[in-house]
Amino acid sequence: MSQALVTGLNGLSYAFILFLLAAGFSLTFGVMGVLNLAHGALYMLGAYIGLQIVNTLDLFWLAIIVAAAALAIIGYALYAFFLKRLYGRVPEQGVLTIGVAIMIANIVLWIWGPRAKIMQTPDFLTGVITIGGLSFPIYRLFVCGVGLVVLGLLWYIQDRTRAGAIIRAGMDNKDMTVSLGINYGLVSTLVFLLGMALAGVAGVIGAPITGAYPTMGDNLLLLTLIVVVVGGTGYIQGTMLGALVIGLLDTFGKAYIPQVALFFAWIVFLAVLLIRPSGLIGRKVF
Amino acid sequence: MALLEAQNLSVHFGGLAAVKSVTFGIEPGERLALIGPNGAGKTTLFNLLTGQLKPSGGKVFFKGQDITNASVYARTHLGMARSFQITSLFAYQSVMVNAMIGLQGVEKSRYGFFQPLFKDRALKAAAQALLESTDSWDLRDEIVSSLAHGQQRKLEIALSLASHPDLLLLDEPSCGLTTFESADITRRIRDLGPKITVLMIAHDMDLVFGVAERVILLHYGQIACEGTCDEIRSNEMVREIYMGTRKQLGAGR
């Protein structure tokens, strides 16, 4: 049973990866109402870019920064050239971003080949800590640490800064916020870029755990959707809670009943969608 | 028996009471006008009466039946119909199609899934009658979005008559119309006959006094006062709330 603790840490760290990934999506979805279904593919791109830097330059921190920056740039291009012109047209946003996701997946395949790549954890984070006879991988603890920091940061921004207040006001009543003279467009764009950068960070940090393979985009997108719906949008706590539920469910599921693991996540997703669409902690959607 | 009765109707949005304890009735054949400053809750009240909005408290009775929880379309079948303040038509269809879709709403044939709509002679004849009655027959092949505002408003009212209602709720029927067009609308509403009861939201006082027998003033979601036209015209409070103390009601703009 104590092995469950190790699985628990794995689940927790996986949950934090999901959180970093879903936070970005939740922000664009909740704040801008934009359906960006390329989010999973972008995470994958971040992972591959990070992988490339780690494998050629062996600089972990640089990899994180470059991936975050690259994704922010690509995200901005996506917004400026396409999403801006599809304001309010959700199905079209979905269709376009699905197309972008398919293209990114094929480009990744083209550049890096079909075989899954493994990213080694950086030397200073490899190894285990032994407590009471159980071995806890240091890297997993690192991931949890990063996740907590980001969670804390975002939570702080949401509740205690002017930017957070603007975002929350905008989610309640966009027109009013704009008419108060607040440059909501700028804030939205910055939020979008922040979300992209977070996905990049998630990609690099998560790569040693989730691996990197050209078809992972779909899987991660679906997990993101589940997390965001289950947890709810509008509150960062909701996204974290959703990530926890799905991360732990998936990890424990895989450990004990491998065949049906992801299946349960979908059941939970549908159940939440139909019974309580606002999610566990989310703004009232209906 | 009153045709329509609202008892203690209220609705809240968050902490704001948009409509508070509104109670009134309307008799068959009556012409009742609902006036009030912007934001007074008139359209919200309409939405409560037609079922687009569920009240937080109170009841609505129509022809003696409690319809508080009835759906929007069920109320239409019972004999209620409305027009919208912001023109709500089928913008990308022709006027003829608008009329046919409108008329079909209370007909069993609306579920027919095999016979072409345009082979339905009875429906086409009914549509022709409806359009001719509002002088829109010549426009029947025009796409609604290409019509002038005044023509759209006429079609808006035509559609609200399509279900042969006993009670017609008109929301600002003369909204955005010229004086000439408003006078035309006033005449048409007056000519609707005693079989149709009319509850009308209006800002145009010529329209109100030209049509209504009774007037209710709504202010901050509550009924501030009600009475006949003369009573309202000479009421100090109404003047203060609505027109500003210097202007006299009905004395023109």
Partner: protein
């Protein structure tokens, strides 16, 4: 200036003269001019296999199947403004049901498998539709159907995972293979070459039915809901019932396309239920346009053609082209009057030029 297309989406191609024209009355074209293009196309399609190598008729068969798939989604997306990212769920259910009936349950009759597939698809649609429309919303729903779209994605993914999990029935992740060519009963077995005609026949029947539906009283009810659901309710329409039933009807036609697909390729995999296949359906709808009835059919011809050439010259890069098609379709296809003006209207314009237009 070119004459305007009939503004009744999906209606027969009719010239609408300008308002100044004293004969400003819509005159239905003589039957010969609406039936003619259909007859011409039908004859071409029927005679084609005599003149072309069999791999081309195989492609045309695929065009017809995908055309039906796209048209079935168009019923709800184009006519009722119900977008769906999970239409392959029904396509796949139809396909898998027919395949299981024939390969595992021991019933070899084509019509029987089709019947059961239709019933299964209708049942699944009826079940999934109840919760789906609960999150659709009115008014805001059509404009902002995010949660509905997510639900449709979930349906496809869930069914796809069920197919993986139910290995004994569905063959798990390897799927079902070796689906035999259709047995029409009474000893009539359809060969690979003759399958073309079977697909054509069923396709024509389905198209005819769909055409009648969209031009019927019910069909105009859907169009009304597309443009202004709130008003429809105010006029007395039970819009939920319309949407729900159209969802089931669209699912059934999608399922029929799936059955045809199962017999066509002889192999089915779980991806036939998931978003990978749903992608194709809404690409066809957007590319083909939602103003003209046969839009998605035109798009299917285009799509299968592009896919074929890509598979020859750039096989590794087909997904890149595929993805680019989405981006191009969205960015380049005008969206006016609430509808996509895609390849369908273009083909119609060409046809009118060729036949001299309407005087």
């Amino acid at each position: 200036m070119d004459e305007e297309l009939s503004q009744i989406p999906g209606g027969p191609p009719i010239a609408v003269p300008s308002p100044q024209d004293p004969a400003a009355r819509r005159v239905p074209r003589p039957l010969i001019e609406t039936v003619l293009p259909i007859a011409v196309v039908a004859v071409i399609v029927l005679l084609l296999p005599l003149f072309i190598p069999s791999f081309v008729s195989s492609l045309v068969t695929k065009m017809m199947i995908f055309g039906l798939f796209g048209l079935s989604l168009n019923l709800i997306w184009g006519y009722a403004n119900i977008p769906s990212f999970g239409h392959a769920a029904f396509f796949g259910v139809g396909a898998y049901t027919a395949a299981v009936i024939v390969t595992k349950a021991g019933f070899s009759n084509f019509w029987f498998s089709m019947l059961i597939a239709i019933l299964a698809t209708a049942a699944v649609a009826a079940i999934l539709g109840v919760p789906a429309f609960r999150v659709f919303g009115v008014g805001a729903g059509a404009a902002n159907p995010i949660y509905f779209l997510l639900a449709t994605i979930a349906f496809g993914e869930l069914l796809s995972r069920m197919a993986i999990v139910m290995r004994p029935v569905t063959g798990g992740s390897t799927g079902i293979s070796g689906i035999p060519k259709p047995d029409l009963g009474l000893g009539a077995k359809v060969s690979a070459d003759q399958y073309y005609y079977l697909v054509f026949a069923i396709g024509v029947i389905c198209l005819f039915l769909m055409y009648r539906i969209v031009n019927s009283h019910y069909g105009y009810g859907l169009r009304g809901i597309h443009d202004n659901e709130r008003r429809m309710q105010a006029l007395g329409y039970n819009t939920w019932l319309y949407k729900y039933t159209s969802w089931i009807v669209a699912a059934v036609f999608g399922g029929v396309a799936g059955v045809l697909f199962a017999y066509f390729g002889s192999t089915l995999v779980p991806n036939n239920l998931s978003m990978v296949t749903s992608d194709i359906s809404f690409l066809l709808v957007i590319l083909g346009g939602t103003t003209v009835f046969f839009g998605p059919l035109v798009a299917a011809v285009f799509y299968v053609g592009v896919e074929y050439f890509a598979s020859i010259y750039l096989p590794q890069r087909w997904p890149l082209i595929f993805g680019a098609l989405f981006v191009i379709a969205i960015m380049m296809i005008p969206w006016t009057k609430g509808r996509y003006q895609g390849l369908g209207p273009e083909v119609l314009r060409l046809w009118k030029k060729v036949t001299g237009g309407a005087a």
